[in-house]
Homo-oligomer: 424 residues x 2
């Protein structure tokens, strides 16, 4: 039980020590540890769900929003998916030790790079208890020690999950301090963690914009910022309307509380009359509130207007995290590109089109972490994109951008091997 | 002529604007610009050397140290080498647009990454005027705009070189604001630059530890820190003595004022009696002051002791930047590894050995940006390691480590292309 600053320092020193042995732990030991964690998630699911129920009950009593309650919630399906993700990470190749950019120079030097862990990762997160598992397993597989600090709302779930992870890795013979969990929910400890640059090499905030901004401002070590997804879909004049409706519906409705959910639809004026009524019908059935610009309102004037409201300027650039979306009619791809450049957060932006050149211009010109054609924004996710799981979705350009998996938790060292070469 | 904060803001905005067009500039235009710069370095060398003479004369009057004067100095050979480096960068492939990690997922999604520029780079440097050219050409080739802020001591050289670069790129049709130079040497402007996170995506300090520490502490944008090289050579018991002497001599003497020069020799006790007297003889001829531990002193007691002094604890972990070195006799590879882990700066560390296992253990276990076997530490240099030139040698683990060339000045975006995939 970590309650005070001195404890946090001890925990940091222990993490540093553990990171040294982790860096050279054989891949099979790490994978066995991960399989133990997946087994635990299955065999101890009742216990986890019980702890989670305490959190969700308390959250309901405290009047947490539906979107927070959804992020907080674990259920048998989500636990099973979590266990699947852990096994998927175990099945991935060990990222460490890989040599790359290897070559022999004209003077005979053999030069290359070798992938190595970062060291100690600090994770500061809020409502989603699955983060406890996702980040632990990715850090472990990539040879990094991790210090976990989850949100107050999920303390029971996180404590149970962290215990399960720690058991799983200990059974495989991984140093116990590889995964450490700050059990105290004292907010002052976050500030302390952000000062511990000698013990933490990278801090990853996972949560709302307040947390991300605080970490960016206060962290004394490198920080990944991201996770704020103001996601756009541009429905081009050549879009297949049914495909566009299905994609926009999935992107908005399948899990509105997460960062890759759709926020703003930009639709070309030539296709808006065909597209918008169908979209409004689909969204209407799911209770989506649509904030429309003047032209969209006028097109939708003839259909059910109960869920329509005029858009306000603040809605552009808003991450709704709920069943709300903004809609704007534009007259060209250029207008859409300009809108995205002005209001986007560089997280996920999508074009729906059948026009080859429009697709390519969108891919070339939109400067976001993930740029998509004809696919739901909800695929911007480490698991969905083949990383097994993710520690974060970065909107930084330095180090890693977009979903961060194993490779993004590593650094490299150069190796230079010669036979007596000198420069003079 | 940039003299005030408002000017600096304007310059930042212009750099941002230039970066947008730079990102899509064809490679051949950029390469033509670089060849123009190389031509300028050759055809206008008198003018550059004249400006440089003003700086070195002023530096001598102001009593600058020999090591600073050496870093400040341009001569025909150095200018010719600089032009060669520029041509080498021009000859490298364009790093932009490269797709990597491309694959098709089982659900048919085509996923990949595309290399893109960072945006705007800020360079803050001290005495070495070649940095003006090195950083400009690497930024240009990698599609980044750059804001250059060189040291007061080199202001004449830098102004001349920046003008030459700006002419060269303008002739090729590159936007003029791609390379901007802060002509004022007002130190307050450094603080202003470090606040401009909206206009500068990455700041690179090139200079002494005071500058690097200041940038690390004050920068509001990501900063590469590094360039502080406390470089070790461990001479293993199985080393070839002549090779070891030649390497240690080159590493210390060929250019003592730079970060990849050797600082500390750790020598195995079994080979110290054969190695140290030969090294002391070579170093003695070049005027190297040797700071010895007790055992090294006793071995060298029988040879010329004029350049020998007892080492002090502060010498371990010191970057001498001069003809000074520390020497310690150790009894094992482990003792050397422990010393490097304690006193190293993670920049460049070397083993000289004929023992296969010792070489591999050193490569595996030393956690530095560049780890070497049987080669002079002076090869830790972007030009020498095949990058054409370098913007910095990073001792960070995030983003880039070791010498940073073109690729290290880029980010990437994910592209996800589908045909209507949704998650539900």
């Amino acid at each position: 039980m970590i309650t005070a600053t001195t404890d946090l320092q001890t925990l940091g020193r222990n993490a540093r020590k553990a990171s040294r042995s982790l860096a050279r732990l054989p891949g099979r030991v790490k994978d066995e540890a991960l399989r133990n964690v997946a087994d635990g998630l299955r065999s101890r699911s009742d216990e986890i769900l019980e702890a989670n129920a305490k959190d969700t009950d308390a959250g309901r009593r405290d009047g947490l929003s539906d979107s927070i309650l959804d992020r907080l919630l674990l259920n048998p399906e989500r636990l099973a998916a979590l266990a699947e993700d852990v096994l998927a990470v175990a099945a991935l190749p060990d990222p460490l030790g890989e040599s790359f950019d290897v070559r022999q120079l004209p003077n005979g030097l053999r030069v290359g790079k070798r992938r190595v862990p970062l060291g100690v990762v600090g994770a500061i997160y809020e409502n989603r208890p699955n983060v406890t598992v996702d980040i632990s397993v990715l850090c472990l597989k990539s040879g990094n020690a991790v210090i976990l600090r989850g949100g107050r709302e999920a303390i029971n779930s996180n404590t149970a999950l962290a215990g399960l992870v720690q058991n799983g890795i200990a059974e495989a013979g991984v140093p116990g301090d590889a995964v450490q969990f700050v059990e105290s929910t004292d907010r002052a400890l976050v500030g302390e963690m952000l000062k511990m640059k000698d013990h933490i090499d990278l801090v990853i905030p996972r949560g709302g914009s307040d947390l991300v901004r605080r970490v960016a401002a206060e962290a004394t070590m490198p920080a990944i910022t991201g996770g704020i997804g103001v996601c756009h879909a541009y429905i081009d004049r050549t879009a297949d309307v049914d495909k566009a409706v299905a994609i926009a519906h999935d992107a908005k409705v399948s899990r509105p509380s997460v960062c890759n959910a759709l926020d703003t639809v930009l639709v070309h004026s030539a296709i808006a009359p065909a597209f918008l009524p169908k979209l409004a019908e689909e969204w209407g059935r799911s209770g989506v509130e649509i904030r429309c610009d003047r032209r969209a309102l006028s097109i939708l004037g003839s259909v059910d207007r109960r869920a329509l409201t005029p858009v306000s300027d603040d809605d552009w650039g808003t991450e709704f995290l709920s069943l709300t979306a903004a809609v704007r009619v534009v007259d060209s791809l250029d207008e859409a590109l300009e809108h995205i450049s002005t209001y986007g957060s560089g997280h996920t932006d999508l074009i729906v089109t059948e026009d080859y050149s429009a697709a390519n211009r969108f891919l070339d010109e939109v400067d976001s972490g993930v740029v998509m054609v004809n696919v739901s924004t909800r695929f911007n996710d480490g698991g969905q994109l083949g990383l097994g799981a993710e520690v974060a979705i970065s909107t930084n350009k330095m180090h890693a951008r977009g979903p961060m998996g194993l490779k993004e938790l590593t650094s490299y060292k150069w190796t230079v091997q010669g036979n007596g070469q000198i420069r003079t």
